[in-house]
Each structure stands twice: as structure tokens, then as C-alpha cells.
Amino acid sequence: MNGYLPALIAIVTREALRFIHQRERFVAALVRPLVWLLVFAAGFRAALGLSIIPPYQTYITYETYIVPGLCGMILLFNGMQSSLSLIYDREMGSMKLLLTSPLPRWWLLMCKLLGATAISILQVYAFLAIAAIFGINMPALGYIAALPALVVAGLMLGALGLLLSSFIKQLENFAGVMNFVIFPMFFLSSALYPLWKMAESSELLHDICALNPFTHAVELIRFALYLQFNGPALGWTVLAACVFTTAALWGYSPEGTGIRRKG
């Protein structure tokens, strides 16, 4: 069907317009990782010594270490933000408009996912630019090499948001996502500390971190920023993206429960 492309352009444009109309969202998305980078990391620099671990070939500052994790944080929070806006769309009725298009539902939802991911990546690059201004630089080509990693990680986390939105019945229930999804995913990962540090404290926690798809998304970005390829991280991230996307598409299918409401 030749209507696929116009729909993709329209949905991505609408996501972009919505983002432009919500400047506070852009500021919040940048301030959050910058606070971590400039305040949290400065405070913990002395406490958290880092040995040389791949992909790093020299000792690095803690600020440098957490930059990929904070890129992941932006993608994670944006994935959840898009989930929130999907629930809002459903409550306001505009989701019905989307889902009654004659185009396949999977394509419409993929367009939503692509639009949200594109906006997330723009924010990541804005963050990396500010970090560079503060002297936290990556190899120049790393900024380009990181793009495909950011796309894969963004799609995976966006798909998680899509999945959550298909199961959350009301906007009020979204607060639980913060406690039960965002915080565990972020803190039980390699975003803030390398996994060997976690293993020193608890093998169990280390194993949980190693299973967390967010860990692999962060490592994929970290290696790409230093022009290295991390096959296992890519594999785990793609696998998680496929699982989340499949489950989300089921949730939003006419047979699923994503759009159904009682009454």
C-alpha cells in the first residue's frame, strides 16, 4: 500500500510538533542528566575509583564514565514519557483516531515508536554537546558511531514504553511506572557504576544488572562512543526490543486489551 510513507511522515511530524510545543519537556530532559553529570558525578568522583575496563584504555574520570549511562537515562525517560503521552492520547480519544486508520496497526505503532525515538536522540545529542562544553569529550567519530546504537537503544526503550502503555489503564496509575520500572532499570544497570563494582557488593545484584536490558543498551552506547562494537550488548538489546515490540503490538491489537475500556 502506498499510504505507508505519508503516515510515517505525518506521525513523526506530529510527535516533533508536540515536542516543540512542550519546551518544558525538552528542558527537563536535559536538566535531569546534567544534574547527575555536574553535581552527582562531581560529588562521587573521589568515592568511586574506576579501573581500566573496556572500552576505556586509560584511567577515566567518573564524569566520563557516566556519560553513556546518562544518554541511556534520556532514552529511558523519553520512552516512559512517550508511554505517558500514549495513555493521555487514549484517554483523550486521539489514539482512537490513529487506530481506526486503514493502515495496519503495527505500522501505525511503529511510526509512533520511530517518532519518539528520533526526538529522544536529538535530546541525547544536545546533552552530549553540553557535556563537551564542560570538557567531557568523546572521540570525534564516536559521536557518529553512537547514532545506530542510540537508535537501537531508543527503539528498545520506546517499545518498553509502548508495552507499558498498553497495560496501564489510567493516567493515575503511571506513577507506579516510576517506582517499578524506571528506577530499578536505571539503578540496577551499569549506567552509574561498572558491573564489577556491583559484584563486590552482591553477586545477586550483579546478576540482575547483567540481565537488565538497560545495562546492555548503555554498554552498546558506551562502546560505540569509543568506536568499538559490543556484539553481546547489541544482541541483548535487539532481543529485548523484539520482545517488547511484539508484546506491545499484541497489547494494542483488536484482540488485546490496550485500547479496551470498560463501560
Binding site: 499510504g3 505507508y4 505519508p6 486521539s94 484482540e255 479496551r260
Partner: protein
């Protein structure tokens, strides 16, 4: 030719039955009012007609296309005005229509022409560059009807489209939509207001998940007003 065919449609939310063996046909180009009190099952019927979800039992055809077997073909023939406002208030009227047109695969010059045509038809061409937020309720509804007509649907569903509008806006929108039926579009107009139904309209009364009456409005109402007949029918358990 049949515009809408609903056969033996049933749906439940857990233990609560929303639709129970509902069947009716609307011929192509007819205006059919779906009248029912709040909670009769009208919105559930619309959600099934638009394939937002599927019923475990029953069959729906839109302009000759089986909604279960050929959903894309059926939805391509369907225009929908939901009860809930679905305009993006931060976009202009034209941007709202353009977005929807793209969801139906319209692009380029064809899209622009269709937008101009439907805005003219609904008498809101002069508001096309205004944000939806600045429109009054009547104009928002007209915009939604214009949007639903963009892809030239054979069947138009309207779920309580006059809710919250003043008397003048209600009358204007009712007239517009009757005009669309005169031009050949099949209309299914859900309402709980008997005064929106004209004597020559086809009428289906839905109450407590079942069809209570089906026929020309003048025949259903008999010697009394439709309002009185409707209240008499729905004041007793089905």
C-alpha cells in the same frame, strides 16, 4: 447495496453484557439514527464497528467489506466522529485535517484538494489557519466531521456528535449530516436525544444491550411523539 450490516453481535465486559445478539442493516445512502439511553451499548457498538476491538461473536460489514476478514478495505470506507473530541488543540484546523488525511494514505496535491473541499463543504474554510483550541464547540465538531469526510467514505459513523453543543449548533450539524445522506453517504448517528431524529429517518433503538425497535422513525413512534414512545419503551426492562 448495504452500507452497514451488523449480524448477531455480542460483547461483554467481564460479567456485564454490553451487546447481546444485536442485528440490523442500513442501506447505502440512508440516514439511520441509533437511539438509546446512556449505557445502552451505543459506544461499545461503535468501538466494534471501528475495530478498536473485536467481538467474540457476530459479524460486521462496512460497504460490503467484512470487517473481520478485510479490515483495511472496510476501514478505508469508514468515516468516524467520536463522542470524545479528538482534535489536537495545539494544531491548526488544516494541520489536524492534514494529519488525518495522511493516516488514510492521502498525500500531495490530492490531500490539499480534499482538505479544501471538505472545509468548504462544512463552511469552515475561513477558520483553517486557526488553532483548534480557539474554535467554539460547534466549529470543533464541524472540523471533526470535515476530517471524517476527507477520504470520501461510503459510511459515516457519528457517536453523539451534538453532546455539549447549543441548540443552534445542534440543528446546524444535524442538517449538515442529513445533507450528506442525501448525497449518498450512509450515516449511522448515535444519540440519546429523540428530537434529533426526523420522521423519515431510519431508526434503531438500543436498550440494555438489545435492539428494541427497528424501522422508520414515524412507524416506531406511531401516534405519539418519538420522545414519548422512546421513554415508554426504555422505562421498562428489556
Amino acid at each position: 447495496m448495504t452500507g452497514i450490516r451488523v449480524a448477531d453481535l455480542s460483547y461483554s465486559y467481564g460479567a456485564k453484557t454490553a451487546l447481546d445478539g444485536v442485528s440490523f442493516d442500513v442501506r447505502a445512502g440512508a440516514f439511520c439514527a441509533l437511539l438509546g439511553p446512556n449505557g445502552a451499548g451505543k459506544s461499545t457498538l461503535f468501538d466494534l464497528l471501528t475495530r478498536l476491538f473485536v467481538a467474540p461473536r457476530g459479524r460486521i460489514e462496512i460497504a460490503g467489506h467484512d470487517l473481520a476478514k478485510a479490515p483495511s478495505a472496510a476501514l478505508a470506507k469508514l468515516g468516524i466522529v467520536f463522542q470524545q473530541p479528538t482534535l489536537d488543540l495545539d494544531l491548526t484546523v488544516r494541520q489536524n485535517l492534514s494529519y488525518f488525511a495522511a493516516l488514510h494514505g492521502l498525500s500531495g496535491r490530492n490531500r490539499a484538494q480534499r482538505i479544501d473541499q471538505v472545509l468548504e463543504r462544512l463552511d469552515i474554510a475561513d477558520r483553517m489557519h486557526e488553532k483548534a483550541r480557539t474554535l467554539n464547540g460547534g466549529h470543533r465538531r464541524r472540523t471533526e466531521i470535515a476530517r471524517a469526510l476527507l477520504h470520501d467514505p461510503a459510511v459515516l459513523l457519528l457517536d453523539e456528535p451534538t453532546v455539549g453543543l447549543d441548540a443552534a449548533s445542534r440543528a446546524a450539524i444535524t442538517d449538515h449530516v442529513h445533507g450528506l445522506a442525501d448525497d449518498g453517504t450512509t450515516i449511522l448517528w448515535a444519540t440519546h436525544l429523540a428530537d434529533e431524529v426526523r420522521p423519515d429517518d431510519r431508526l434503531v433503538i438500543l436498550h440494555q444491550a438489545k435492539v428494541l425497535a427497528d424501522g422508520l422513525a414515524r412507524n416506531v413512534s406511531g401516534d405519539t411523539s418519538l420522545q414519548e414512545a422512546f421513554l415508554a419503551m426504555t422505562s421498562e426492562p428489556a
